[in-house]
């Protein structure tokens, strides 16, 4: 490898050419490349858990049960995919759970109080959600304070605002039923409709979820923006030095999470016609766990959108599987914790294997 650069022709004997002329580029084996994918650990875990519940819980084997599992997965996965992208970009968002409630509450109250078409509420709440995401991102970038702390503050602020404003406006801790307002039927069809696939009927959120994951995967792996997301999370100084607009990328990611939180909020609102003010608290960790189970590194720069979907699917299977198996659902959290630990260990092992110096 000495030689390639010789500014001036020199009389030195040129080094053995044969080595350089051989095709030096080798493709790693298929197995090695697959093992290097971030979502491989989650895929193995998903298959194992599926087989497990398939074996122990007879009701789990039916198609309607599978539809239920997919629905439960989609309500986690829709936000988890954006959270995974944010984590690849090297940041956290602890306000994602309550932002879902904020969007739903804002939409319901605006539509009801002003007797407007529900679509007005939908759009106004989208603006509110994106503003929350922007503020999160801007504060993190502007102050340099870890996003963990900034979004923890947002989490508490929103939690309080959700309860306070709802109580102030409606006098209770839930919004009034909005199913008789104009536009409810069309909004319900978009956000909370049923999708008949012939052999199985699933909630439309499943479709949205898969679509979001596909779009996110495309962005991450096939666009410039995706490259910038990985670089911003992997090494923001290098990224900045080669001209990547790190701040814009990260603020955009926070807004992406806010968008997905809004989307889930709309689903919940139009599915149940009213929302509880305390909704969503605690879910932020579920999204983060789904992303981590799917191979995202807490330190950023590594992960995948498909992984987050597998993570959400694992969640869906476990929550529903425990019920189908007839066990006490109180064990759910214990199971979750153990599984998280296991998957993180597997991911660590796989990542070391994949990035070892060759």
């Amino acid at each position: 490898m000495s030689t390639s650069v010789e500014p001036e022709p020199s009389p030195e004997p040129s080094p053995p050419k044969s080595a350089a002329d051989e095709p030096v580029r080798v493709q790693r084996s298929f197995a090695a490349r697959m093992l290097a994918r971030p979502e491989i650990g989650a895929l193995a875990a998903a298959i194992a858990i599926f087989i497990f519940f398939f074996a122990v819980a007879p009701p789990f084997r039916t198609l309607p049960a599978f539809a239920t599992v997919l629905y439960a997965s989609s309500t986690i996965g829709i936000v988890a995919v954006a959270v995974a992208m944010l984590m690849i970009g090297g940041e956290f968002d602890l306000s994602a759970g309550v932002a879902v409630a904020t969007a739903a509450l804002a939409s319901a109250m605006i539509s009801y109080q002003f007797s407007l078409n529900v679509w007005v509420g939908v759009l106004v709440s989208l603006v509110i959600a994106l503003a929350i995401g922007f503020v999160n991102g801007y504060l993190v970038m502007r102050t340099g304070i870890p996003s963990f702390l900034i979004t923890l503050s947002t989490f508490f602020v929103l939690q309080g605002v959700n309860l306070g404003v709802t109580k102030l406006v409606t006098g209770t801790v839930a919004t009034t039923n909005i199913d008789r307002l104009d536009g409810f039927a069309s909004a319900r069809a978009i956000f909370a409709g049923d999708l008949n696939l012939g052999f199985i009927t699933v909630k439309i959120t499943v479709l949205w979820w898969l679509l979001f994951v596909a779009v996110a995967t495309w962005i991450l792996l096939r666009t410039k923006t995706g490259n910038w997301i990985f670089a911003s999370g992997g090494n923001k100084d290098s990224a900045r030095a080669v001209g990547v607009p790190v701040k814009k990328v990260k603020i955009g990611l926070f807004m992406g999470v806010a968008f997905c939180a809004w989307f889930l909020g709309m689903h919940l609102l139009f599915n149940f016609s009213s929302v509880q003010a305390g909704l969503g608290v605690g879910n932020e960790f579920i999204y983060i766990i789904a992303a981590v189970v799917g191979g995202a590194l807490l330190t950023g720069g590594y992960g995948s959108a498909i992984g987050s979907a597998l993570g959400a699917f694992i969640f869906g299977m476990v929550t529903q599987g425990i019920v189908f198996a007839g066990w006490d659902p109180n064990w759910f959290k214990a199971f979750l914790g153990a599984m998280l630990l296991l998957v993180v260990l597997v991911n660590l092992y796989v990542k070391n294997l994949a990035t070892r110096r060759r």
Partner: protein
């Protein structure tokens, strides 16, 4: 192969024309003056070496030229125009590329993605246009081969390459994207003898292709092998500013090692 660099180097470069000129440039971080009164001219086809111990202000100097931190006093001219860079992008846009010692690459990303980071090739020019992955892989592979870096697989994370290889990827990237001024921040500091040789050869090749090179180092031996002009920094000030003809390696070494201070230390430690 020697024409790899010449191929990409901007054609309007004429040896000897000043590309970057600094006059009385200084930088203060709050009350701390990290750098003051620096005069430095980088000519096309020449290597300007900036030497100095840790904390002498070398990094601050680079950060000013590369746009990471703007200077607070003095004047910085690029191609005769007064500039004050607010971001690395601005500096890159006028053809100044910096290869950092430690933050050159994103180690978890593939070699080709690192090569094109920030200057990706796309199929089309609309938002969300797909990347030309195949094209980028081929170009990166070819460029690296020309430099004599044979990566096993262009898709492997760059963290799996050796330090020298990573440095060369970063340099060839800068040259490929048409840099006119190349700033090398301690390119040989973490490398073994053989790999340092590769980097030095490449530095010389860049110079011969007409690029202006700023070579930052604390190794006077490496500097003397490629340099045309030397300045030594100490505590944010310039203590030596000579052309190659006016200075010997011994003098550089002594100045770098601390000169008078070293003699005193030698006397003190005498046994």
């Amino acid at each position: 192969m020697p024409d790899t660099i010449a191929e990409h180097a901007a054609s309007d470069l004429k040896a000897g024309t000043p590309l970057v000129q600094m006059q009385g440039v200084g930088k203060a971080y709050g009350a701390i003056r990290a750098l003051e009164g620096i005069n430095l001219t980088v000519n096309a086809g020449e290597v300007a070496c900036v030497l100095g111990d840790n904390g002498a202000g070398k990094s601050t100097l680079i950060k000013i030229i590369s746009g990471l931190h703007p200077h607070t006093e003095g004047e910085l001219k690029v191609d005769g125009e007064v500039r004050r860079f607010a971001s690395p992008r601005e500096s890159l846009d006028v053809g100044i590329a910096t290869v950092y010692q430690d933050l050159a690459v994103v180690s978890l990303m593939e070699v080709w993605r690192n090569f094109f980071l920030g200057s990706e090739i796309r199929k089309g020019n609309f938002p969300g246009a797909p990347l030309d992955i195949k094209g980028m892989r081929e170009i990166a592979d070819e460029e690296l081969k020309k430099m004599g870096i044979h990566v096993k697989d262009i898709n492997q994370p760059i963290g799996t390459l050796s330090g020298g290889q990573r440095q060369c990827v970063a340099i060839s990237r800068a040259v490929y994207f048409g840099a006119r001024v190349l700033i090398l921040d301690e390119p040989t500091a973490a490398l073994g003898v053989k790999q340092s040789g590769v980097v030095l050869k490449y530095t010389a090749a860049a110079r011969d292709a007409g690029l202006g090179v700023v070579f930052i180092t604390h190794n006077p031996h490496h500097a003397y092998m490629v340099g045309d002009h030397f300045i030594i920094l100490k505590l944010g000030r310039c203590v030596l500013d000579r052309k190659r003809a006016e200075v010997s390696l011994e003098e550089l070494t002594t100045q770098m090692a601390g000169g008078q201070e070293l003699e005193e230390l030698q006397h003190e430690l005498k046994r």
